[in-house]
């Protein structure tokens, strides 16, 4: 108990005094995970739309794959991305291994199935006749999809948040493709792993608290947006 109390006290001091090391790790985490979320959204939203509205052979198989992907272990993603980016691997010439870009790529792969599955579910909730009505008012195919996405913007936001949550909270893939290099590829989760193994529980806990805080802020923002977007009752 004593150890835990001391660790919490040190964590609070580190956070309140704006420790440069903690700050540096936090900023890199945000940069990598936000970029990964954006990448997952750019690829995932059209895929979610295709699954929600498309009628093509293999649609069910794709949905099954995406659902399976939601439970994909980050370590497996890390391994595959590492092999791809390894010097003698297919993308080795890019020289991306042990860079924040590699971490972004791995986290985007982890977030992608969540974004695809949740956005497909969100878009599927919008009344099918609504799209017909939009087309019947002269909307182009693309414009009608955009309008449907606007209708489903709250659950789509939840899909984005889930993707971000998955990205920022994983450690395995970031460790494997990033290498946990201080000042270069060290993020909150990998830093917490390292400091724990070194016995620096206060620092590890400080990173844990920051991670929890980020999760809380994201959840709070989502809740506020959802409350704001809900129609008030008469």
């Amino acid at each position: 108990m004593e150890l835990l109390r001391e660790a919490i006290g040190s964590a609070v001091r580190l956070l309140t005094h704006g420790d440069p090391y903690t700050l540096e790790v936090l900023l890199l985490s945000l940069r990598v995970s936000l970029s990964a979320t954006v990448c997952a959204l750019v690829v995932g939203l059209p895929l979610g739309m295709a699954i929600a509205f498309g009628r093509f052979p293999g649609r069910r198989l794709l949905l099954a794959l995406v659902n399976t992907g939601m439970g994909m272990p980050p370590v497996v993603v890390g391994l595959v991305v590492t092999i791809l980016l390894w010097r003698s691997g297919p993308l080795g010439a890019l020289g991306l291994l042990y860079t924040p870009t590699a971490m972004t790529l791995a986290q985007a792969v982890i977030a992608l199935p969540l974004v695809v599955a949740l956005s497909a579910a969100a878009l599927g909730q919008v009344d099918e006749e609504f799209r017909l009505q939009l087309r019947g008012l002269g909307a182009s195919r693309l414009r009608s999809l955009w309008e449907v996405a606007r209708e489903a913007r709250l659950p789509l936001l939840a899909a984005a948040m889930a993707g971000f949550g998955a990205a920022i909270s994983e450690a395995g893939a970031a460790l494997m493709v990033g290498g946990n290099l201080r000042g270069q590829t060290r993020v909150l989760t990998t830093a917490a792993v390292l400091e724990t193994s070194k016995g620096n529980f206060d620092l590890a806990l400080a990173f844990g608290v920051v991670l929890l805080g980020l999760t809380f802020v994201v959840s709070l923002a989502l809740t506020l947006v959802q409350l704001h977007g809900r129609p008030t009752s008469r």
């Binding site: 009505q133 087309r135 008012l137 909307a139 182009s140 309008e147 606007r150």
Partner: protein, 264 residues
């Protein structure tokens, strides 16, 4: 006279089975054509084909005598479906939606849609969220939204089906006046022969995807061979039989509850 819209040899199939087979059907400027028929007759499919919301497997659509291009037909038509299907936003936003799809800015779209809200008696609702309206009010917004695009052809897919009787009657009469005033053609899909009688100069009858008859509404509705298909309900006969019996005034109840008492 060249028809505004002509369907030639239109066939729509689903799993190798024809669900719509219309050898020929024309619609002229300013004319309302009703399409009657039982459930599953292919009425809504016909309407979707007429707006190219659904591409027929074979056949051709002509707009002003020329093969119809999708974008040109889309701009010439506007659809009103059974439910209002309003999106988030105010009534004014919703009313201008069709214009927004035609590249008009938000404010300008609202400005141009406003007279239609007024014309349909819902100008006072312009600032209200569309989702909070009753079905009747929502359907008026839906009509305003379609008419604001200045369509040459209005595609009406059972637009009054979800309304109660008094609301439906009033809206049908309002729409008749609007269509006549603005010379807008309409294709009206309906189950209700009274709507056809009130709105349509000509009526087509569909059954199991086949076009059985087209002609002046009064001829079609009076044809005894078509009556089972055009909604001459067995219940109409029931009602007539009951009303023919000697009548007494029913005992009157007290006045209806006021809102305050209902919500107390």
């Amino acid at each position: 006279m060249t028809a505004l819209l002509e369907l030639r040899g239109v066939v729509v199939r689903a799993r190798d089975c024809a669900i719509l087979d219309v050898p020929g059907l024309t619609l002229h400027t300013g004319e309302t054509l009703a399409v009657l028929g039982p459930n599953g007759a292919g009425k809504s499919t016909l309407l979707r084909v007429a707006g190219l919301l659904l591409r027929p497997d074979t056949g051709q659509l002509l707009l002003d005598g020329q093969p119809a291009r999708e974008d040109a037909l889309r701009r010439a038509t506007a659809a009103v479906l059974q439910r209002p299907l309003l999106r988030r936003g105010t009534v004014a936003d919703n009313a201008g939606l069709g214009l927004r799809f035609r590249g008009v800015g938000r404010r300008e779209a609202q400005r141009r849609a406003a007279p239609w809200l007024d014309r349909l008696g819902i100008a006072h609702l312009a600032g209200r969220p569309g989702r909070l309206l009753s079905v009747g009010e929502g359907q008026r917004v839906s009509l305003a939204r379609a008419l604001a695009t200045a369509p040459r052809l209005l595609l009406l897919d059972e637009p009054f089906a979800a309304l109660d009787e008094p609301t439906r009657g009033q809206l049908v009469l309002d729409l008749r006046e609007l269509l006549a005033d603005h010379q807008v053609a309409a294709l009206l899909v309906t189950h209700d022969r009274r709507e056809a009688a009130a709105l349509a100069q000509r009526t087509a009858v569909l059954d199991q995807g086949r076009l059985l008859a087209v002609g002046p509404t009064e001829h079609v509705l009076a044809d005894p061979t078509l009556s089972p298909l055009v909604g001459a309900s067995l219940l109409d006969a029931e009602l007539a039989r009951r009303l023919a019996a000697p009548q007494q005034h029913p005992a009157r109840c007290k006045t209806p509850l006021s809102c305050e008492r209902i919500h107390r």
